[in-house]
Structure formats: structure tokens, C-alpha cells
């Protein structure tokens, strides 16, 4: 009469076998697991368990926008000068570039020229020949987005160059990048590498400005004053022409090497860059060429002869490490905007190992205590619930492995809690059976009623806890999300094991022992 549906038996057997298969790799050592195929891997451990470094970076998208406006100002200046249109009040303020075209007759032509510089701009006429140039909202958004994408790529290249094991670099939200570096104990070098935009440009020194004028702050609008990082160099600052002769984006390779026994960085341009560099050095022989990195002059050597091969060296006062880092940065390319570290979490490998040990002990101890408690209270029925609970644990571990979820220390806490909460379903069922039996039902009928009547309660209780877990996953961050994941999977598994699996076990037991009553009283 109370037969077990065949599909349930098959489902339980298949789930058990799959569960054991997928959970099994978790007891292997790392070396053994590495030999297993890709689909059969142990659960991946969070950085708090395996040790490593987590960095949350933010791309300064405002910087990109400011750069954009500055270059727009320069382009307007160049165009208007070339066309001999008189102007004043040229400058960028907030999100707007303004320029006043003085001759009324030039205004229409000037407006047209400015508009053509960048199709993403909108021009607005204000009073008396004053034009306000703005980027369209859509263009601003698009450029910010592309700056973040580009940053992601550059960060990836820089970290790849360092050869860390299995780094993970992901975008988060609108302008953030999450970098996870398993096994990295000290992220200081990585942070310092990511902290540089590494924008390299070659400019001519402006020799028309004497030191007196610099002191008075009289710098022509086409030049700028940049600090020098040359140690022992004569000048603290250099007056550098704003015009970029060649940019670092045209570099194809860069290496740290030695010249006269000192560490230097050698570089090579692509064909176009090589030609530009050749032209610039030929036309300006005898002048000084400033090598500018991130708005600082690394060195400003005199151009003795045209450099036509498309390659050269940068010699500053580098240490070997600095030369290597600079070469790496130049190879990987410049960041479109500076990055800021918002959050850093680093866990040493020994603390991770301690946490794994602590988590394992707590889980096993929790399991043993629950198992003993259930047997002490319910005897064989308790033992059957314990079998189901163990299967729950196996399925939880298997689903974590299959889903590629990350196990964290709070995640282990979730597993331990699941142990305590999952048997609640069994307790509800057994207590119900006891009551039904007292009300005069036969063994099978009481058993069935116990499962049927407790199910609604079990379901409601699960839904409420799952709701809390889901919100925790949505709003939690980092390791705490791991807690939400294990709690959720554990509770879902318990709906299956505590209800369906236990029921099958109880029926088999009753039939096997030919019980007339359930030993609950």
C-alpha cells in the first residue's frame, strides 16, 4: 500500500551516485586533483582560505573626461590660429569649453570649424560671440565605458606580465575592477605597478623661456612646466612644449637593459611611430627632447643626430627594479586614467590553512554532535535522519563543486549551520508521526501523515530562511556571499534529503522489521 514510487528510488540513487562522484575530489590533495579532468574538480577555495590578495580598484573616469576637454581646448586653439580667426576666453570649466570669437564676420566660419573637430560635441551660442562646447551625454558615457574597458585590459596585461598564478580580473559595477590574486602574500609591488598610469610622451623643451620668466610664472600657453625626477639634474623643473612629438601608444616593445653599466630601458616604435620619431629628431637636431612619464620628466637628452631606426633608450637614474618595472609598464601600455585602490584584503597562506583546519574541525564536530543527538533521541529513526543528513552534506559539497562556487570561511560556517537546521525538518516529521500514532493511526498511516502534515510547515520555514539568504547574497560582499551560497544550497538539499530520502529509508525500515508501531513513545 505504501510503496515507494520507482522514480523516487531512481532519483535518490542517481543523486547519491552523482553527489559522491562530484564531492569525492574534495578529499584529494591538490596534486591528485590536478590530474582529474576539468569537469571533476574540487570546490574552489576563496582567498580567505587559500591565501591571496583581493584588490578593489576604481577607474577615475572624471580624469578621462578632463583630459578630453583639455585636448579639445588645444585643438580649438590650433584650428583657430591656423585659420587666423581672432578669439579670446578659450578655456575649459566644469564640463564645458568656452571660446569667444571676436570678429562678428568670423563667427559662422569659426563655429563650423570648432564643430568639425569632434562630432560628439554640441555647440551653443551665448552672448556676444561666446560659444559653449559640450560633449553629448551619450558620448561622455561611451568614453567613460571605453576607459573602464581599456583599464581592465591594461590591468590584465600588467598582472600577466608579473606571472602570478591564476589571477582573476573582473569588472564590477560601472567603474570598478576587482583583482583577485591567489597565492600573493604581499601585493605592494602590484599595487605600485597598478598605481601608475604610465603615459609616456616625447616633447621638445621650450628653450624660448628663460629661468627668470619661469620664476615669474610667465609660461606661454603652448608650453607647460613639468617637474623633473632626474636625480642630480640641474633643473628642478622643465618648460616643455605641450605638443606631443611621439606618444607611448606607438611603442611595440620595451626592455630593461644596461648602458654604460647603468640600468636603462630600451624601446622600439612601430613603423608609424618610428617615422614620426625619426622626423622629429631630424628636424630638431641640437635641441632637447623631454621624455615625459605621467607628467614628470624622466630625462631630457640633447638630440645629437636623427634617430631613424625607430628604437632608443631611456636613461634616467633607475635602479634595476625601477627599470624593469618601467619596461613592463611600457610593454603593457598606458592606463587611460589613474586607478585608485578602494579596498584591499590579503590573507597569508598559513592563516588560510589554519582557517581550513578550523572549519573542517568545526564541521566534523558539528556533524558528530548532531548525529549523536539524533540517535540519542530517536534511536533508529534518528540514525536514518543522520544518513539523510550525511547525504545532504555530500550533495552540498557536490553542488558547490559543479556550480564552480567559491568556498569561503563564512561559507564553511554556513555548512555547519545547515547541519543543525537541516535536521529540523526530520524533527518536525518525527514529532508529527508520534502525535498521529497517539491519535490511533497504524504505523504506515502515522508515518505517511507525519510526512504529509509536516511538509507545509517545512516548506514555509525553508522559504523564509531562503529569503534571508537570497538578500544576503544580493547585498553581501566578498566572503559573506559564500555564506549565503552554502546556506541556500544546504537548505535546498535538505528539502530533498530530509523529506524524500528519509521517507524512503523509513518505509524500507518499517517493511524490513515488520514494525507494528513506530518506536517513538
Amino acid at each position: 500500500m505504501y510503496h515507494i514510487p520507482k522514480w523516487q528510488l531512481i532519483l535518490v540513487v542517481v543523486a547519491t551516485l552523482l553527489g559522491i562522484t562530484y564531492a569525492a575530489p574534495n578529499v584529494l590533495t591538490r596534486e591528485q586533483a590536478d590530474r582529474l579532468p576539468q569537469w571533476l574538480q574540487p570546490v574552489s577555495l576563496g582567498l580567505d582560505l587559500q591565501g591571496g590578495s583581493y584588490l578593489l580598484l576604481e577607474v577615475d573616469t572624471g580624469y578621462v573626461f578632463r583630459e578630453q576637454l583639455t585636448s579639445l581646448v588645444e585643438s580649438i586653439r590650433t584650428v583657430l590660429r591656423k585659420e587666423k580667426i581672432k578669439y579670446s576666453d578659450l578655456g575649459a570649466k566644469g564640463d564645458t569649453v568656452t571660446v569667444r570669437i571676436l570678429d562678428a564676420g568670423d563667427r559662422e566660419r569659426g563655429r563650423e570649424l570648432v564643430r568639425k573637430i569632434d562630432p560628439d560635441t554640441l555647440i551653443e551660442n551665448r552672448d556676444d560671440g561666446l560659444f559653449a562646447v559640450k560633449y553629448t551625454e551619450e558620448a561622455v558615457k561611451r568614453r567613460k565605458l571605453s576607459a573602464v574597458e581599456q583599464s581592465l585590459e591594461i590591468v590584465r596585461r600588467r598582472i600577466d606580465e608579473l606571472g602570478t598564478r591564476e589571477p582573476s580580473i573582473q569588472r564590477q559595477g560601472e567603474d570598478r575592477v576587482v583583482v583577485q590574486l591567489p597565492g600573493v602574500k604581499d601585493p605592494d609591488r602590484i599595487k605600485s605597478l597598478l598605481g601608475k598610469t604610465a603615459k609616456l610622451t616625447f616633447h621638445l623643451l621650450d628653450d624660448s623661456v628663460g629661468p627668470d620668466e619661469v620664476a615669474k610664472g610667465r609660461i606661454p600657453p603652448t608650453s607647460m612646466l613639468l617637474p623633473s625626477v632626474e636625480r642630480g639634474g640641474a633643473a628642478e623643473n622643465h618648460v616643455v612644449r605641450k605638443r606631443v612629438e611621439v606618444g607611448g601608444d606607438m611603442l611595440v616593445d620595451s626592455k630593461a637593459t644596461y648602458s654604460d653599466g647603468r640600468p636603462v630601458v630600451s624601446f622600439r616604435f612601430n613603423a608609424a611611430g618610428g617615422k614620426k620619431f625619426g622626423d622629429a629628431t631630424r628636424e630638431n637636431s641640437g635641441k632637447f627632447l623631454a621624455i615625459v612619464l605621467d607628467d614628470k620628466v624622466i630625462s631630457a637628452p640633447r638630440i645629437n643626430e636623427p634617430i631613424l631606426g625607430g628604437s632608443g633608450i631611456i636613461s634616467g637614474s633607475f635602479t634595476v627594479q625601477q627599470a624593469q618595472d618601467l619596461a613592463l609598464l611600457l610593454r603593457a601600455g598606458a592606463l587611460p586614467a589613474p586607478l585608485q585602490v578602494l579596498e584591499e584584503r590579503t590573507v597569508g597562506p598559513d592563516l588560510g590553512a589554519d582557517s581550513i583546519r578550523a572549519g573542517t574541525i568545526a564541521s566534523l564536530l558539528g556533524l558528530v554532535l548532531v548525529v549523536i543527538l539524533m540517535i540519542a533521541i530517536y534511536g533508529v529513526l534518528g540514525l536514518l535522519a543522520d544518513v539523510a543528513l550525511t547525504l545532504n552534506l555530500v550533495l552540498l559539497l557536490a553542488s558547490l563543486s559543479v556550480l564552480g562556487a567559491t568556498l569561503t570561511l563564512p561559507g564553511i560556517a554556513g555548512i555547519v549551520l545547515t547541519l543543525g537546521m537541516a535536521v529540523d525538518a526530520n524533527v518536525l516529521i518525527y514529532e508529527r508521526m508520534r502525535e498521529e500514532q497517539r491519535n490511533g493511526r497504524t504505523v504506515m498511516s502515522a508515518m505517511q501523515a507525519g510526512f504529509d502534515k509536516a511538509f507545509g510547515t517545512i516548506f514555509d520555514a525553508h522559504v523564509t530562511t531562503l529569503t534571508a539568504a537570497a538578500l544576503l547574497f544580493q547585498f553581501g560582499s566578498g566572503p559573506v556571499r559564500g555564506f549565503a551560497v552554502t546556506l541556500t544550497l544546504g537548505l535546498l538539499a535538505s528539502l530533498f534529503t530530509a523529506v524524500m530520502v528519509t521517507r524512503i529509508l523509513v518505509i524500507i525500515w518499517i517493511k524490513w522489521r515488520r514494525l507494528k508501531t513506530l518506536p517513538l513513545d
Binding site: D48, L56, E58, Q340, V341, L342, E343, E344, R345, T346, V347, G348, D350, L351, S355, A358, I361, A362, G366, L369, V370, L373, A376, I377, Y378, G379, L409, P410, I412, A413, V416, L417, G420, M421, D424, V427, L428, G456, T457, D460, A461, H462, V463, T464, T465, T467, A468, A469, L471, L472, F475, G476, S477, P479, V480, F483, L487, P519, L520, D521
Partner: protein
């Protein structure tokens, strides 16, 4: 099985509801006390929320000289620096540095200073830096998660039962959440991300407990048409008492395992869970259930019977 009879109280006839006014008094005291402590004393926020630096350093040679470290780090001008020894070897020191004025970069510079000052005699087992921006966001997300989960739980209970049950579940869960906040405020235990996880788990567990009892109330309402609400609620608590005790016990032992063997990182979490277990069980029996006495759960002719039992209009405790 005689053991069951001995360990689990079955067929009890305790009058839980009778002590409702005492219970409401205790509940009100706990809630008000928590609010007062939160308002006056506030929280000992961990760096997750307050921002700042946390360094777990281990001396590589013998026990760490806490006094010397305090002097060295105190002289760095980094504001409040707290040092705490933990573990059994005397080599492990937890260093907390308050959030530095200024932007994210200031935090990084401060860490470099700390590492420089400590020199090479220490290895760093854990380093965490949270800048002001992220700290603010984590606070916002934590508050949002707690508020939304309370709302979602109340909504679900309302949907599955009646609105009166929804209010009962909301009040008792709110009580558990607030008093857990209160516990952290009064004891000065560090309040961090895992605390939020504990609070949400407590909310889930407590409402789980409440739902089990409400389920029984609903069933009994159908079964015993003429029983007074007072007796009916008592019956439901007594009928589920064995289950309540057993489930609390199983969760309790697992939390104890976490508390004693889960390590430093999970300590605050385990303490919160332990508290939540006790307070959650209390609130299901003494807050969620007696509240129903004041609601009109029966309609039609049943109403008359219930009038004699403590009033039919809603009244908040």
C-alpha cells in the same frame, strides 16, 4: 524508547500565554535598552564599515613585545591604533588603525608606515584596508539587506497566513534583530560584515521557529472550533515544545562547535548566532504567540467566544 520521554517534554500543559504581560515587559525593556545603548554608546564598527586598516601580525621570533609595538605605532601619528593579543602562543597580534583623514590613498600610505615601523620581525597573516568610499557602501548594503529581509519575511507570512500573523512575525523578528544589535552595542563586540550575516540568519531562524508555531495555531483554529484563543495558543506552544527544544539543541551544538573551533574570524559571528538562537526561541513563544491573543483571529460566530479572552481589538505591546 524511554529516552525520548525523559529528554523531551511531551503532552505538557504549561500556561505560556499567562505570562504575556511579564514577557511584553521584558521585550519592551530589551528593545528600549538596545535602542538606548545604540543611541548612547553606538557600535564598535570593524573596518568593514568604519574604514581603516586591520593587520594580523605574527612575531617571527618568540612572543611579541606588545608594549614596544604600542610605543612604535603610537608615534606614527595615525590617530587611534589598537593592539590586541590573541591565540595561545603570544605571537599573534591584531592591529587596528583608524580610518585616515583624506582619500583612499591615505589608507595605503598609513599601511606602508605601519609595516615600515614594525620592521622585519613580523610576518603578516592578514591585511585588510577599507577606504571611506567602500565602507559607506557596505553600511548602506547592510542596512538595506536587514530591512528588506524583515519586510520580505513579514510579507511572506502575511501571504501564507493572515495579516495578523504577518505582524506578529514582523514584531518578533524585529525584536530579535534589534536586541542582537543591542548585544553588539552593549558588549562592544566588533560589528562587521559577518555580523550582518549572523543577523540575517537569526532573522531567518527566528521566523522559521515562529512559522512552525503559527502553522500549528492555524491548524488548531480549524480543528477546535470552540476552544478559546487563549487555550488554543497555549496548546500550539505545548504541542511544538519538544520540536522547539530539539531543534534549538541541534543548532546550538553546531554553533558551539563553530565558536570553539571556528577560529578568530568567526568568533563574533558565532556569539551573535548563539544569542540569536536563545532570543529567537524566546520571541517565538513569548512575543509572536501572545500577540495573537489581541487579534481577532476568528470570524463570525466564533467571535463571541473570543471576546471574553483579553479583547478583540488590536493592541500593540
Amino acid at each position: 524508547m524511554r529516552l525520548i520521554e525523559r529528554l523531551l517534554p511531551h503532552n505538557t500543559k504549561y500556561d505560556f500565554i499567562r505570562y504575556r504581560l511579564v514577557a511584553f515587559g521584558i521585550t519592551a525593556f530589551l528593545i528600549i535598552g538596545s535602542f538606548v545603548s545604540i543611541a548612547v554608546k553606538g557600535f564598535n564598527f570593524g573596518i568593514d564599515f568604519a574604514g581603516g586598516i586591520l593587520v594580523e601580525a605574527q612575531s617571527t621570533s618568540g612572543p611579541a613585545d606588545l608594549h614596544a609595538m604600542r610605543t612604535t605605532l603610537g608615534g606614527l601619528n595615525l590617530g587611534e591604533v589598537s593592539l590586541q593579543e590573541f591565540g595561545t602562543t603570544g605571537r599573534d597580534i591584531m592591529i587596528r588603525v583608524q580610518r585616515q583623514e583624506g582619500a583612499e590613498k591615505a589608507q595605503m600610505d598609513a599601511l606602508a608606515k605601519v609595516k615600515d615601523a614594525l620592521g622585519s620581525g613580523y610576518s603578516y597573516r592578514r591585511v585588510e584596508i577599507v577606504g571611506p568610499k567602500v565602507g559607506g557602501e557596505l553600511v548602506r548594503d547592510g542596512v538595506l539587506a536587514v530591512v528588506l529581509s524583515l519586510a520580505a519575511i513579514a510579507f511572506y507570512v502575511w501571504f501564507r497566513f493572515e495579516w495578523q500573523f504577518g505582524i506578529g512575525a514582523l514584531v518578533s523578528t524585529f525584536h530579535d534583530v534589534i536586541t542582537t544589535f543591542g548585544l553588539f552595542s552593549i558588549t562592544g563586540l566588533e560589528f562587521n560584515l559577518t555580523t550582518v550575516a549572523a543577523i540575517l540568519t537569526i532573522a531567518g531562524y527566528s521566523v522559521n521557529d515562529t512559522v512552525v508555531e503559527y502553522d500549528r495555531v492555524r491548524e488548531n483554529l480549524r480543528k477546535y472550533k470552540s476552544m478559546s484563543l487563549y487555550d488554543l495558543l497555549n496548546l500550539a506552544v505545548n504541542e511544538t515544545l519538544a520540536r522547539t527544544i530539539l531543534t534549538v539543541s541541534t543548532v546550538f551544538v553546531t554553533v558551539l562547535a563553530l565558536l570553539f573551533f571556528g577560529g578568530e574570524v568567526l568568533r563574533g559571528f558565532s556569539i551573535a548566532m548563539l544569542w540569536g538562537l536563545i532570543i529567537g526561541t524566546y520571541s517565538s513563544i513569548y512575543v509572536a504567540m501572545p500577540m495573537l491573543v489581541y487579534f481577532n483571529l476568528r470570524t463570525g460566530k466564533d467571535k463571541a467566544e473570543e471576546e471574553g479572552e483579553g479583547g478583540a481589538t488590536q493592541a500593540a505591546p
